[in-house]
């Protein structure tokens, strides 16, 4: 009798809870970064996400989507991990590139492979490969690209014109790059010091990406800096640096028009290209963007920086979360807004290649600028995803200092890089 009574009470409680839950509207929480990940100034940083939420709530009347505003990029990683530690993480959230490795490895992110396979409205082929790869770890897709920023080469057209050098094609190579740099690096006013330079800010890491080489393998278990393609890339960077061996090149030199080439994030380009930024910063010279030069051994051109969106593995509303994730990453409306209200690039091919996008870009670009659909889409296609594993940031710091030291040795670079590789692997193993 008692047991029967207990069963009835439990059933009643469950029923009541279900009824209560059904009566209330479902709340889906979202984690978003305030402002641009690439520090590009924007107007309303929530414009894209707000619009996405509005659309989503329209198609899902019972659902309310909430997010905490005002979490800046520098606080976002801490905020997200804190929410995880407190067990209050949002259902869907943006994942910064530096956090992805740790979160994926710790099982904090919901694997999306099954959802992608069973959902006919989405295909992995919709995305640029490098962008998609940024959200994959160990062969499992944990996140989808929300917005990307490729690296482009910023060209001082005025300087090249003065030297009678045409602006290079988009399929230019290291040789072209080096030749132009060697040609323009000289003393223009005859005071004995070199005051015009070929490039600024092109590092061995840019060369590595261009040559299809990598610093680490995908899961961070070994270092590949002593591989032939890597040595080739570092040697190129060394050669380039030797052009300006005793010179002091700064960002200011570029801003004042004394440098021909500088690698530049697409977001910066978009920020400074339109009026009035353009006038404010680079008033003395005409400039344009082209692809990064290609290395002899690789097809890739540059490293792609991607902000991802993912679902918490502990989310109680996986289906809804997946719907909203699609709204963020796979919806044409949301993704095309990246071009109007943000300075990043959509990882969706059909959006980036669409006539509207082309129109938007053209509208912002002054007269004879080359930048258009072709180079942007090519840059996206040819970009490579940075590896992401837990200790990536620290490993990268160590590698940068070690490789910099190795590059000081002119003759035995490959031997030096062997040593770097050994040291790095020791570090990675621990």
């Amino acid at each position: 009798m008692k047991r029967l009574l207990g069963g009835v009470v439990i059933a009643a409680v469950v029923l009541a809870a279900t009824a209560f839950g059904a009566a209330q509207e479902t709340v889906l929480t979202v984690g978003v970064v305030a402002g641009s990940y690439w520090d590009a100034p924007t107007g309303n940083c929530y414009a894209v996400i707000d619009a996405a939420i509005a659309r989503f709530e329209q198609t899902h009347p019972d659902v309310r989507v909430e997010y905490t505003s005002g979490i800046l990029k520098r606080d976002y990683s801490e905020w997200l991990t804190d929410q995880y530690l407190l067990g209050r993480e949002p259902d869907v959230f943006m994942v910064l590139p530096e956090d992805f490795g740790m979160l994926a490895e710790q099982g904090a992110l919901q694997p999306l492979d099954n959802l992608l396979a069973s959902d006919s409205t989405v295909s992995t082929a919709d995305f640029y490969n490098a962008a998609l790869q940024s959200g994959a770890a160990g062969g499992v897709q944990y996140a989808l690209p929300y917005e990307c920023v490729p690296t482009l080469m910023f060209v001082n057209k005025t300087l090249l014109e003065a030297e009678n050098i045409p602006v290079p094609d988009n399929d230019w190579t290291w040789n072209d790059f080096y030749e132009i740099c060697a040609q323009v690096t000289r003393d223009t006013d005859g005071d004995g010091t070199i005051d015009q330079f070929g490039s600024y800010g092109y590092t061995w890491r840019d060369a590595l990406a261009a040559n299809g080489a990598a610093l680490f393998d995908e899961n961070g278990s070994s270092c590949l800096i002593a591989q032939p393609a890597s040595v080739e890339a570092v040697r190129f960077a060394q050669r380039l640096a030797q052009l300006y061996a005793d010179c002091d090149i700064t960002a200011r030199s570029f801003d004042e028009g004394h440098v021909a080439f500088r690698p530049f994030l697409f977001s910066d380009y978009r920020t400074y290209q339109p009026y009035p930024w353009r006038i404010k910063r680079y008033s003395d010279f005409e400039w344009d963007c082209i692809q990064m030069p290609g290395g002899p051994s690789g097809t890739g051109r540059s490293e792609l920086s991607t902000v991802l969106a993912a679902i918490s593995s502990r989310s109680s509303q996986q289906a809804l979360a997946w719907e909203f994730l699609k709204e963020m990453t796979c919806s044409d409306q949301t993704q095309s807004m990246l071009y109007t209200d943000s300075h990043s690039v959509s990882a969706l091919r059909r959006v980036t290649q669409s006539p509207q996008t082309q129109q938007i870009l053209r509208h912002d670009t002054p007269g004879e600028s080359q930048l258009g659909l072709e180079i942007l889409s090519d840059a996206m296609e040819q970009a490579v995803a940075a590896p992401h594993f837990r200790a990536y940031d620290q490993a990268l710091l160590l590698a940068e200092s070690l490789v910099a030291t190795a590059m000081e040795d002119d003759h035995n670079l490959s031997l030096q890089l062997q040593r770097v590789q050994r040291e790095m692997e020791e570090y990675l193993q621990n």
Binding site: T81, D82, Y84, L85, G87, D99, M102, Q106, A108, R314
Partner: protein, 444 residues
């Protein structure tokens, strides 16, 4: 079972209860401590904005802090079930054998599989309530569970973060302290568990030994008893034979006392008659009448003796009266002067004592007349210090060397049966001194 064993069992029971409660306390302390680590460490990291570095130190995304509530609930339920089981509120208690390990498992899972000592507590709580095959099954199941939950692999398969990874977040000394505390409590729990089991097994062995010992004692007692039984049978047979002998002796005594006495009187009277016939036929006739009277009395006595083996005089008179009558009759038949001096009024003597006193006096006086040819006989009965003394002194010829005749031997025998003694002296007339300890001790 002896009282000592009972005491010991009670003591071990108390020790077991104490050990069980100690184990419970340690388990509670450890669970609370682990729960606190699992809740407070992330909170601390969040508060100090060190969430990223904390999470980077972990192998997996840890469970949300509120999941520790399951551990708390499980622990409460575990203790509640144990209490109910101990108070007999769970019917036959079988439910406890499912619920306790179940709740223990809940707690273990909620505490990231980091502490499975709770299963040991469940064993400590429940093992005493099972016997035979059930106990083996239960212990087997618990052992498998314990081994299973000890697997580190399971922890990583289930995506659980161990407490040591949490502790790695803390600085050197606090971390060491906490690790030491956890290790110490865990070890203590194990030690208490082993102690409990050892004592439990020891008690069982002791009980078995006690039962075996008691069985042995019982068998020995049985053996002894059967030996005694045989002895008793022999004794009974002996005793029967002795009773027969005694009865035969008694008969002989009775014949001697009654018939012998009468015949002595008749003989003495007849002798006197023969001498008096010539001098005074009148006197002789009187004497003859006396003889006839004595013979008749003797006849009667013999008859009664045969019928009831009981002196007629004593039947009809009290002892002093019987003695009076005896003495006057003897004086008349023998012409000796018999003086009776009874220095006591009423003696509550038992039957055999009265018989003995009467017979001793009768025999002594008869002897004095028959063998000592005495003319004066003093009979004195006195009682001092719970000892009755009978002295019969005559002025007869006495004797230098006392021959142990039938009469004397009988006297001694009677006295011996009553625990008394007999002294005789034949130098100055004849003196018999008999003493009988009075059994009832009543002062006269």
């Amino acid at each position: 079972m002896s009282e000592g064993t009972d005491n010991r069992t009670m003591q071990t029971d108390e020790t077991l209860t104490l050990l069980r409660q100690g184990t419970l306390l340690i388990n509670l302390a450890l669970c609370v401590f682990l729960g606190a680590v699992f809740v407070l460490t992330p909170l601390r990291a969040v508060q100090r904005a060190e969430g990223v570095s904390f999470l980077q130190g972990l192998s997996m995304l840890p469970a949300a802090p509120w999941s520790v509530a399951f551990a708390a609930l499980g622990l409460l339920a575990f203790v509640a079930v144990d209490l109910a089981y101990r108070r007999g509120r769970l019917g036959n208690g079988r439910l406890a054998f499912l619920l306790e390990p179940g709740f223990a498992l809940l707690v273990i899972l909620a505490l990231h599989l980091d502490y499975n000592g709770l299963l040991l507590l469940a064993v400590v709580n429940l093992v005493d309530g099972l016997h035979g095959r059930g106990r083996m099954l239960f212990l087997g199941a618990m052992t498998s569970l314990y081994l299973l939950t000890s697997l580190d692999v399971l922890q990583s398969v289930l995506g659980m973060v161990s407490v040591s990874e949490y502790l790695a977040y803390y600085e050197g000394q606090p971390r060491q302290l906490m690790q030491t505390a956890i290790g110490l409590l865990g070890a203590l729990n194990l030690i208490l568990f082993i102690g409990y089991m050892v004592i439990l097994v020891g008690r069982r062995t002791e009980e078995n030994a006690a039962i075996r010992r008691l069985n042995g004692e019982l068998a020995r007692a049985n053996d002894k008893l059967s030996v005694l039984n045989g002895q008793l049978k022999e004794y009974a047979a002996e005793s029967e034979r002795m009773a027969e002998t005694r009865e035969r002796n008694r008969l002989a005594r009775e014949i001697h006392d009654t018939l012998g006495h009468a015949l002595t009187g008749i003989t003495a009277g007849a002798d006197a008659c023969i001498q008096m016939m010539d001098i005074s036929p009148e006197m002789a006739r009187k004497q003859m009448e006396l003889i006839a009277k004595t013979a008749r009395a003797g006849m009667n006595e013999v008859r009664r003796s045969v019928r009831a083996l009981r002196p007629d005089a004593l039947e009809r008179f009290r002892l002093s009266e019987a003695l009076d009558k005896l003495c006057s009759e003897m004086q008349q038949t023998s012409h000796a002067e018999i003086r009776l001096d009874v220095q006591m009024t009423d003696m509550r003597l038992s039957q055999d004592e009265e018989d003995a006193v009467y017979r001793i006096v009768q025999e002594s006086v008869t002897n004095a007349i028959r063998h000592g040819h005495a003319t004066e006989i003093d009979v004195r009965l006195s009682c001092q210090e719970r000892c009755m003394t009978i002295v019969v002194q005559d002025n007869g010829i006495g004797c230098a060397k006392i021959e142990q005749g039938f009469g004397l031997r009988h006297m001694r025998e009677r006295l011996r049966l009553l625990g008394g003694s007999l002294r005789v002296d034949g130098h100055n007339g004849f003196r018999i001194e008999a003493s009988i300890p009075l059994r009832w001790g009543d002062e006269i």
